[in-house]
Symmetry: C2
Subunit: 311 residues, 2 copies
């Protein structure tokens, strides 16, 4: 979908909630915030052959729960609309079983659902949660540290195996696919973070894209130190075999559902979650990568570029 | 979509909100209820040639706002996920303009939105509202009166012109199409009703189907008096020309977005909205129609039956 068409469409819409266009929208209720998000999964663009119906169902819950986590909200309720292309009871049951799995994992209850027939499988997931305070993209301030949960690169590595035929032996492949097929939203981390951080985003499109969103919303810059990126041995091994640059994979891997957040230096020692400090917020706008002695603009690639343009 | 597949799927889902499966779902918050609904529009099944992109956008808001109205909730926020099939800026703008029109009509603000590319136009609308008390399908009690807002039959009449080539001169056609293309959700009526009624439903699939839902959920029956049905002169004229039974059209016309509600006899004089008393709640389960001296089971037809099986 072309960006300018989306922008043109959204210009028509004048009535927006107080918090709109972040990972989720929100409105004040009592002394907290009610947080609402929706994210649609379309078979032709979001599903690959190795995903089972159960993987798909779980994924729709995860990608929406993750948007709540990025705002610091506790997920409470889930809703979905599904367009099923065939009257196949077996598939439908598996899909719904995946959704149920997600509801259990994230402690959510189903509040509303709608079932339709369509030309391809489409599921729109909707998540509703509550937050005491919100972490917003616009709140990054120069001087703060930039951190990320978990490790980076597995989903993109798996996607390159799946769609570009890149190489990995069975054992390696299995380890890379685990997170690709069953990513986990960082719910407890998000809730904990909201007491310490005012700015977070989840990695759905890839770290560079997410950092750009923070940079633009906050009118600040972000410098990432290459050697600090949390890249697993598996991703490094995969990159070595296929002649890829591991830091580019880590910076552009999407559907990670890790949380990127910014935080004051003096608060990180109190933070009881696992995370890695990867850089800092600076005055000069843009997203930068510090490699050895050099600082350059971070490259923003989609997975499609990874065999065509780079290698 | 086959009913048993949907049922089989939903059996997989164990975690449900306190209020689930009504026009909308709800959970208690403060001393009221937060009400959430979602309803998907799929081009291949829900859109006909005479609907403009603006009509479609407005409709998605209306059908969701109407579900809130049926629960007695005031609409507050709207969200949507859209799958657009072409990169056509003109169409996208019109679609979004229709959504904006709906937001203005119903006093809602956009809280979240997601844009995708898909094989056909699909829009999932999500509405969030608040209610002091809820009107639920399960609350109809024998002895209560059954009432409906507005008049019935125009959308189905228009659909029969559109899809079955039934006859109507230009003036009549225009009057029938008005409500078909631009139905209006009964927001203020729903909010007012919540102080007087404990049971309501909106007419999206046709009155017989909605009454059946009330009957089953309440374990009670409903008797409708044919001569009381609010049928406009236009629908009567259309039925006369095409040899149709006006009461069958009124009872099976969908996408009316009128509200059906049940109410104690002694409360209706206090009710300051426009409505028609059309029947009453009885002990014996089922939906019944009283024609002249006879009482028979109400027939439940979809529009597809109206040329094939009935006439």
């Amino acid at each position: 979908m072309e960006e300018d068409i989306i922008r043109a469409g959204f210009r028509e819409i004048k009535r927006k909630s107080e918090v709109f266009g972040d990972d989720a929208g929100a409105f004040g209720i009592g002394d907290g915030w009610l947080v609402v998000t929706n994210d649609m999964l379309v078979e032709s663009t979001d599903v690959v052959a190795s995903m089972s119906q159960e993987d798909i169902g779980l994924r729709v819950v995860t990608m929406n729960a993750s948007d709540l986590a990025a705002m610091g909200a506790r997920p409470l309720y889930f809703a979905f609309s599904v367009g099923l292309k065939e009257s196949d009871e077996r598939s439908a049951r598996k899909l719904f079983r995946g959704i149920q799995l997600g509801l259990e994992m994230y402690g959510m209850s189903l509040i509303s659902a709608d079932t339709n027939q369509s030309d391809e499988l489409i599921i729109d997931g909707i998540a509703v949660g509550m937050a005491k305070s919100l972490m917003l993209r616009k709140n990054a301030r120069p001087g703060e540290l930039v951190c990320v949960t978990g490790d980076l690169g597995k989903p993109l590595s798996a996607l390159l195996i799946e769609l570009k035929g890149m190489e990995a032996d069975e054992g390696l492949r299995k380890k890379l696919y685990e997170k690709f097929l069953r990513p986990v939203a960082r719910i407890e981390e998000g809730i904990t973070l909201a007491d310490f951080s005012r700015c977070a985003i989840d990695i759905s499109d890839g770290m560079v894209k997410e950092l750009k969103a923070i940079s633009e919303a906050s009118s600040a810059g972000i410098v990432i130190r290459e050697e600090e990126l949390p890249i697993s041995d598996e991703v490094r091994e995969f990159c070595r075999i296929n002649g890829l640059d591991a830091y580019l994979i880590a910076m552009n891997s999407g559907e990670e559902y890790e949380l990127i957040f910014t935080i004051d230096r003096d608060k990180i020692s109190s933070l009881e979650i696992e995370f890695t400090v990867i850089g800092e917020v600076v005055e000069e706008k843009g997203v930068w990568i510090k490699k050895g002695g050099k600082t350059e603009r971070a490259k923003d690639f989609s997975w499609r570029h990874f065999s065509k343009e780079l290698f």
